[in-house]
């Protein structure tokens, strides 16, 4: 009798476990119970789309940004000696309005474009040096330098707001500004202001 009861007990337990097993299998698969029965549609189900079957993204190489800066390999390029300029005229206030050509060369007229009332000698010295400067050929337009030797704080201001990307330079490649002046002898980085707008 006991064996019979045990038998029925384990049989019922088995059936209960079986039902729970099926239920859990359906729940764990994340499918709603009403959709769990696939019926005949299994044969009609299309193969799942895999990456590359419907669209592709082809990645190109990393493009380094271009740097608009003085081309230090230009033959005969000279630096401006700031201490010498100080010695010549420690109150010099000179403004040079120049054009950066298609080839990157800095072009200006020493008479009209170098504005230095009362500081002719300093103006001549600055103009002579700046004529030798050439930039990388990525931007063209007007660039304005203001040398205020006696100023406290910013002694050199460079206005690059009117420079534009040269035609023919890839518009998608980032273009950054690099070293825009070549000055030795005492001018500190903190004394230079680059005006971009």
């Amino acid at each position: 009798m006991l064996k019979k009861i045990l038998g029925i007990f384990f049989a019922v337990l088995f059936v209960v476990f079986l039902v729970i097993y099926v239920y859990r299998a359906v729940v764990l698969s994340g499918i709603p119970i009403e959709d769990a029965d696939l019926g005949n549609i299994v044969e009609e189900a299309p193969p799942p789309a895999r990456p590359g079957t419907q669209s592709l993204i082809l990645t190109g190489p990393l493009i380094k940004p271009l740097v608009f800066a003085l081309n230090m390999r230009t033959p005969g390029m000279r630096s401006l000696d700031w201490s010498a300029l100080n010695d010549v005229d420690f109150t010099a206030d000179v403004r040079v309005t120049a054009k950066v050509g298609e080839d990157g060369a800095l072009k200006f007229n020493p008479l009209d474009d170098v504005y230095c009332p009362g500081h002719a000698k300093a103006g001549e010295m600055i103009g002579n040096v700046m004529r030798s400067w050439t930039y990388s050929p990525y931007k063209t337009g007007t660039i304005v330098f203001r040398y205020n030797v006696g100023a406290v704080g910013k002694k050199l201001t460079i206005d690059v707001s009117k420079l534009r990307r040269r035609e023919g330079v890839d518009p998608d490649t980032p273009l950054k500004d690099g070293l825009l002046y070549f000055i030795d002898g005492g001018l500190k980085g903190g004394e230079v202001k680059i005006k971009t707008w």
Binding site: R50, P51, G52, Q54, S55, L56, P61, L62, D172
Partner: protein, 205 residues
């Protein structure tokens, strides 16, 4: 088990087997408690199914037939981006982009002059590049039409596996050149990355 004696003897239940099954089910449920207690996101990890998303790769090899193939690598991608820019700027059509894509990237399997296998040469070039730049990872998508024997894909995989630093990975999918010929969208996408710019081309079939 004792033999059954006569017709009046009661049949014995196979209790031992039943208990075995019940205990196995018990063990199963104990183990499955662990899985069911995981959050949904982690449970998905156990079911790796492919996602319907664009395949991203540096190199695309589309096998066409025994005579020709379609091949794009990063250098070609860069040129393609420039071509697409020009076409977009002058208001060109999708057909124009498709033509440029097919013209630039379709090659004969055999080089007429040297007799060398162009695809093998290109893959060798890729392997050389990968060997020179072990820090870079390359992913190659190989698309093969159903009518071509899969042996051709296996040969390509064997070639790609020769990269010294194993920095060339690959994925194989089915697909024909008709997908590219009839592409619905070809466009460039610029993606900034580590202060630099990456020029990508997107092709939608």
């Amino acid at each position: 088990m004792k033999p059954i004696k006569g017709g009046n003897e009661r049949r014995k239940l196979a209790l031992i087997s039943l208990i075995d099954v019940v205990f196995i089910l018990l063990i199963f449920f104990l183990v499955s408690v662990f899985f069911s207690s995981l959050p949904n996101e982690e449970r998905k990890l156990f079911l790796p199914t492919p996602k319907n998303e664009p395949g991203s790769a540096q190199v695309l090899i589309q096998l066409i037939d025994d005579e020709s193939f379609f091949y794009i690598d990063p250098l070609v991608t860069e040129t393609l981006v420039n071509d697409i820019t020009i076409i977009d700027n002058r208001g060109g059509s999708l057909a124009e982009k498709r033509n440029v894509l097919l013209r630039r990237c379709t090659f004969p399997m055999r080089d007429e002059r040297s007799g060398l296998n162009n695809l093998v040469e290109k893959i060798n070039g890729l392997i050389d590049h990968a060997n020179l730049h072990p820090e870079e990872e390359y992913f190659v998508i190989i698309r093969c039409p159903g009518e071509l024997p899969y042996r051709k894909v296996i040969e390509l995989i064997q070639l790609l596996g020769r990269a010294t630093y194993k920095n060339i990975q690959y994925g194989c999918v089915g697909g024909t050149i008709s997908d590219i010929r009839g592409s619905k969208k070809i466009e460039k996408r610029l993606v900034p990355e580590e202060g630099q710019m990456r020029k990508n081309v997107i092709i939608e079939f």
